[in-house]
Symmetry: C2
Subunit: 297 residues, 2 copies
């Protein structure tokens, strides 16, 4: 079956990243085999690898080298994978399913899941500075800095804390916006930043790409919330309806379904305007945006 | 009260590291204040900062700059602090006390403790590559690589997994040795590696320092096990006797108390011989070893 060109490009990056991750993750062997198996379970064989695709797409509009792009994308997936394992823990979202399979703490046990997440995180930084990664030392430092900031208290972890607080008391629109910006947005913005670093973007180009990624991240989250509300868990591979069940504020709750869909279109227009700076260069960034807001899983 | 010179040196490094950590950790403010407070609780105001002292002592024998040493030591303490928070979780060691205070998940809650640990980890890597850190780009990459390896599946996390397995079935002497080498040893060896990187050690010097640190780490763990067995929790600040209560294999269980003490002396002799390469240079490394094997908390 032949795919349309855009879907083929997404599948191709996903396959490259999957192979890179399979090589970077420790093999299921030795005394710590159980830990290695849990790490591989958490990261391999799932996900659309949209963040790595964004690294590739931003680097592509800047003519960067494909190999360094795949490694940076893999590092992002290691962080993303660990965050899903920890978010699913009983003390956090207490999720049963992830990517259509039992969550890591159910496939293994809670202690192993915590440790697998803990071990995935340094691996992400390790692979960005390993001598076999061809980015130069300044680029490696910039990648580590960007990923660390995206993953930390001022990024993903901070967003997850706000998300937990949302289960205890209703958040207002500004707080929901901040939560989304940090929880999902930070790592998506870093994907564009990584493309900018590897593609040696001029400052104005880097800003445009980061703004595009900010719009994309928010659109991603709104579509996620819409799928949580109306999606079919056999398609999404996650427990559905949980946000509403725990009374969690999301943009969909705040704006309503129609309002959320209008917001997606508004974000799309804004994101396209960000790309004016690349006028004339061929790029898949507009198609990526459409892919994100029309995805069903 | 005036301290003897060695104790004064330890206290001085600890004070510098404490101040550096207080400045590096996010302030208790903003929407994520709760997360920031938990991070600070986990890291500040406790511990002898022996790992940073080892960075300073190894760099000192190589004549390295004090400022870059303090930052590297602080990064290690961020990793060490996160590991204590996660090790104490109910699904892991289920500890009540740490440094004489309630463990982080009891002072806050389990979700906040998981997230605080998760957010401390990238901060450790961030502070090693931040533009205000004066180590050069190659040194920064080397520090990130070393710390990431020490913290990951082939280091601390791998050791913690073996430690958990030790509660399920008895480990043999080789497995106990590997567990200790990874769980406590990896980060202590990295402290010496960081000193070597910052001090631009010749390869033979770096090997000698890493071997010394390997002996030191094992001695540290044996003394820890002895304290767990015979120590007073009002002095150690931890729940005592737990290893024996859960039937966990340690060197003290395997060798007996007298055998463990003999092993400490054997390691001491070995460690001193490693330092022959620095003959004639003033160094506190011998005193550090004695401090570790005679500590009571």
């Amino acid at each position: 079956m032949s795919l349309p060109p855009f879907a083929e490009a997404v599948a191709s990056v996903a396959a490259d990243v999957e192979a890179e991750l399979a090589a970077l993750l420790p093999p299921v062997a030795g005394p710590q085999a159980r830990l290695h198996r849990a790490m591989r379970y958490a990261v391999l064989g799932g996900g659309k690898r949209l963040r790595p695709f964004l690294v590739a797409a931003t680097a592509d509009v800047l003519d960067a080298s494909p190999r360094s792009v795949v490694r940076a994308g893999a590092a992002i997936e290691l962080i993303h994978g660990y965050s899903l394992v920890h978010d699913d823990l009983p003390a956090m979202d207490d999720a049963l399913l992830r990517r259509g399979r039992p969550a890591c703490h159910r496939a293994f046990d809670e202690a192993t899941a915590i440790l697998a997440g803990d071990a995935l995180q340094p691996l992400a930084f390790e692979v960005l500075v390993r001598p076999d990664y061809e980015a130069d030392a300044d680029q490696r430092c910039a990648l580590v800095l960007g990923l660390a900031r995206a993953a930390g208290a001022g990024g993903m972890c901070g967003g997850q804390l706000l998300d937990l607080m949302a289960e205890r008391r209703p958040l207002g629109p500004a707080e929901v916006a901040l939560m989304q910006k940090l929880k999902t947005g930070a790592l998506i913005r870093f994907a564009a930043e990584a493309g900018s670093i590897l593609g040696r973007a001029a400052p104005a180009q880097a800003v445009a790409l980061e703004c595009y990624a900010g719009d994309l991240g928010l659109a991603f989250q709104i579509q996620d919330d819409l799928l949580d509300r109306v999606g079919d868990s056999s398609v999404t591979g996650k427990d559905g309806g949980r946000d509403r069940a725990v009374g969690k504020a999301t943009f969909v709750e705040l704006l309503g379904e129609a309002g959320a869909r209008a917001k997606l279109q508004e974000l799309r227009g804004q994101a396209m305007a960000r790309l004016d700076i690349f006028a004339g260069r061929p790029t898949v960034l507009p198609q990526l945006f459409d892919f994100v807001i029309h995805r069903q899983s």
